[in-house]
Amino acid sequence: MTDNNGSEAAVRIERSFDAPVELIWQMWTDPGHFAAWYGPHGATIPVAKMDVRVGGTRLVCIEMQTPDGPMQMWFTGEYREVVVNERLVYTESMSDENGNVVSPGDMGMPTGHPAITEVRVELEDVGGRTTMVMTHAGVPSDSPGAAGWAMALDKLAAHVIAHSNR
């Protein structure tokens, strides 16, 4: 499933889809399409608000059925880069239903979960198919210009770990 053994500082996944880039772009930016695939198995996405423009906000609810009834998790964030059919970058934080950020620790997430993460999606048309590279990295809360560093960090960590395994 993965082609490395945990040597990267961000999750980076490259996939090829048998669909045109325009459709893959909609998968990320059209609430109806997004809700169809994003949640875990058996979950629903009752809310997906997406103001897809730089500085626009997003609010997504994932609802799961548990023995104690439905459980909702809310995520908010902001779009940082929007280049139609090419590149989408947005931040993500856990929140309440009004989009107020809550700390991951309060939500019972594992310690070490950064309060803000950044998702970067890059699409490329390859003869009618689409190659997609998704990078998900933790970003420091005081670093609004974080878009670029996840990639550099990724490379650096791989380099460092290769060297430290000598």
Binding site: M1, T2, G6, S7, E8, A9, A10, V11, I13, R15, S16, F17, D18, A19, L23, M27, H33, A36, W37, Y38, P40, H41, G105, P110, T111, G112, H113, P114, R129, M134, H136, A137, G138, V139, P140, D142, S143, A146, W149, A152, L153, L156, A157, H159, V160, I161, H163, S164
Partner: protein, 118 residues
């Protein structure tokens, strides 16, 4: 593996600066003195020292105690903690993209899916 949350924040903060990442990249090649590190950056020594102190506090750089040059060396352990966080999310995304693939097949059943993907 337990992760120290404060330390992780400190690591992220330390890495959120291009000069500091460049310093780490240089140190990945081997230990270096502050003078050697300052050279490629056209920065004053006090300035570069400030960046090195931030990296030291985050545990990403260790400095030798004995020589008067006190060479800097990289410590990759905090980077591995960052990596541990990231790896928890890999299977989540892989599963999402499996579902995306299925959904795309429902949406465009007419499309030929002859070639092997990935």
């Amino acid at each position: 593996m337990a992760i120290d949350e404060d330390r992780l924040s400190e690591t992220f903060a330390a890495l959120a600066n291009s000069t500091r990442r460049a310093i780490l990249a240089l140190l990945a090649e081997g230990a270096a003195t502050v003078n050697e590190l300052a050279e490629p950056f056209e920065m004053t020594l006090p300035n570069i020292s400030k960046h090195i102190k931030v990296l030291e506090r985050a545990g990403l750089v260790r400095r030798g105690q004995r020589a008067q040059y006190r060479p800097c060396a990289l410590d990759a352990a905090p980077l591995e903690e960052v990596s541990t966080w990231a790896e928890q999310y890999r299977p989540v995304w892989e599963a999402r993209f499996d579902r995306l693939d299925d959904y795309l097949k429902q949406l465009q059943p007419q499309r030929k899916t002859g070639e092997n993907d990935d």
